[in-house]
Symmetry: C2
Subunit: 280 residues, 2 copies
């Protein structure tokens, strides 16, 4: 991996890297914030999975997370949301399929399967790469994300409970099999057989017995995609209640789907992850 | 003025407005963050003047200032950096003249003089408009800014010491008469006679006797425009020392010119302004 940019922030460094991804078969770009504590020792990492249309850039600029990461001594990892490049399949006129919309699944269908292996990329390839090359504590990681990335965070933790110390999400797509965004991408990436979709649906995973210690979710009440039934947090909450899975769903009055909502509550999420990451 | 967007953040509201500017003879867009305290009473205001290429959007998204404004109960005002619109003179191929580069002066030369009246706009028209229409404490305002906007903040305070409770700046253009950015804009907006430039040059104003209670400046040591002698903070510091003007210039080791630098120190600046604004 090659460092292509390094910017000092809150006493640490916000770095950007490029590398050849084995999982995605293309060059990928990501960012990592290394807090000041990483200069003298290894630190735990919080993976942040972004939403539709984002790259690694959005959250690092808009979320205001670096301040809290520096306070707690936690690295932030910002992957891209899909494979990129001229060789990679995409749909230029759509923001909700293809580039910028990888949905954190391993695609099985042409033309997507060649590059769209985002689940393996964010949950295996990237952690292994970073733990080998940066001052991170091996295996001490948590995950959070927004919207499509909130879905990604939930499935990463539910599919690999031992791999993450904690999980949280902002306005996640909790039940993609029942949202039009999820249905569109899952049909393209995974095919028409909805049984293949279940492995990437947080609500289904909880119903099927997956368990993590706790889940924190913030959802704005004025979120247009919540109103549009793309997110379905209550459906997930009900599934958790039936299954005995602990979840804290906080309905945040008056907040929308934007990074201004995330900025408001990211400090509480990072404190939540810090407790789990530091306890390890 | 018409509110065109309102987003809840940190318990308050980040609003965007459009209005017909009498000073600039065109429609102007600006943003205001109203902290939660503004729901029950009038609050003081910090005007933030942005740098080259910016609109009202950059700082409200990237600076991370709203958190601190909510803590201290201070409104943030984000004006645009120039007049806008098809009728407004501009130079499409230049980022450092015309649209996005108003330099907070009142232009006297054609074709700029018709619309480029940014000094009057940010220091008179906008405060009067906002104090009449929003829950702001009349006359209780401070000013800060970045780069070209840091220059703007310094000259606003030095030209009207009674108008501002405090002033600070990030990487300001301290002596535009001696920077190529400033020379380019001042020649275009104010003409070839450099005597006309002096009214908008912070270093000259201090040398000529202008006084404010205190000035706080942060400057990153790895700032490419500092290295390129566009900013000249030491020249300003020396002029202040000769004139007996208090100034605190903090050279911040390793920081660049970006909003990541601003985000790191904006909390200290807002606390600095809060002390002055609350003391009034």
């Amino acid at each position: 991996m090659q460092c292509i940019e390094s910017i000092k922030e809150f006493g640490g460094y916000l770095n950007r890297y490029r590398h050849d991804s084995a999982a995605c078969h293309c060059e990928m770009t990501f960012s990592v914030y290394l807090p000041p504590q990483a200069e003298t020792g290894r630190v735990p990492a919080l993976y942040w999975l972004s939403g539709l249309t984002c790259t690694d850039e959005n959250a690092r600029v808009k979320a205001g997370a670096q301040r809290y990461a520096a306070e707690h001594g936690i690295a932030l990892v910002f992957p891209d949301t899909s494979p990129r490049g001229d060789d990679v399949a995409g749909v230029a006129e759509r923001y909700d399929l293809g580039k910028g919309a990888g949905f954190y699944v391993n695609a099985t269908q042409p033309p997507w399967a060649t590059h769209y292996q985002m689940y393996t990329y964010v949950s295996e390839e990237l952690p292994a790469l970073l733990e080998a090359n940066l001052p991170l504590l091996p295996g001490v990681k948590s995950v959070s994300g927004h919207s499509m990335g909130g879905h990604g965070a939930l499935i990463c933790a539910l599919k690999d409970p031992a791999g993450y110390k904690s999980v949280s999400a902002f306005a996640p797509i909790c039940h993609p099999m029942e949202s039009s965004w999820g249905q569109g991408c899952f049909t393209a990436y995974l095919g028409d057989d909805t049984q293949a979709w279940q492995a990437y649906d947080a609500t289904f995973l909880v119903e099927a017995g997956a368990r993590v210690a706790d889940i924190l979710i913030d959802q704005g009440t004025e979120d247009e995609f919540y109103a549009g039934k793309q997110l379905l947090p209550e459906t997930f909450q009900a599934a958790c209640a039936r299954a005995g899975q602990a979840v804290t769903l906080r309905m945040q009055d008056g907040y929308d789907h934007s990074y201004h909502f995330i900025a408001t509550f990211i400090g509480e999420h990072i404190a939540y992850h810090a407790r789990a990451l530091k306890g390890s």
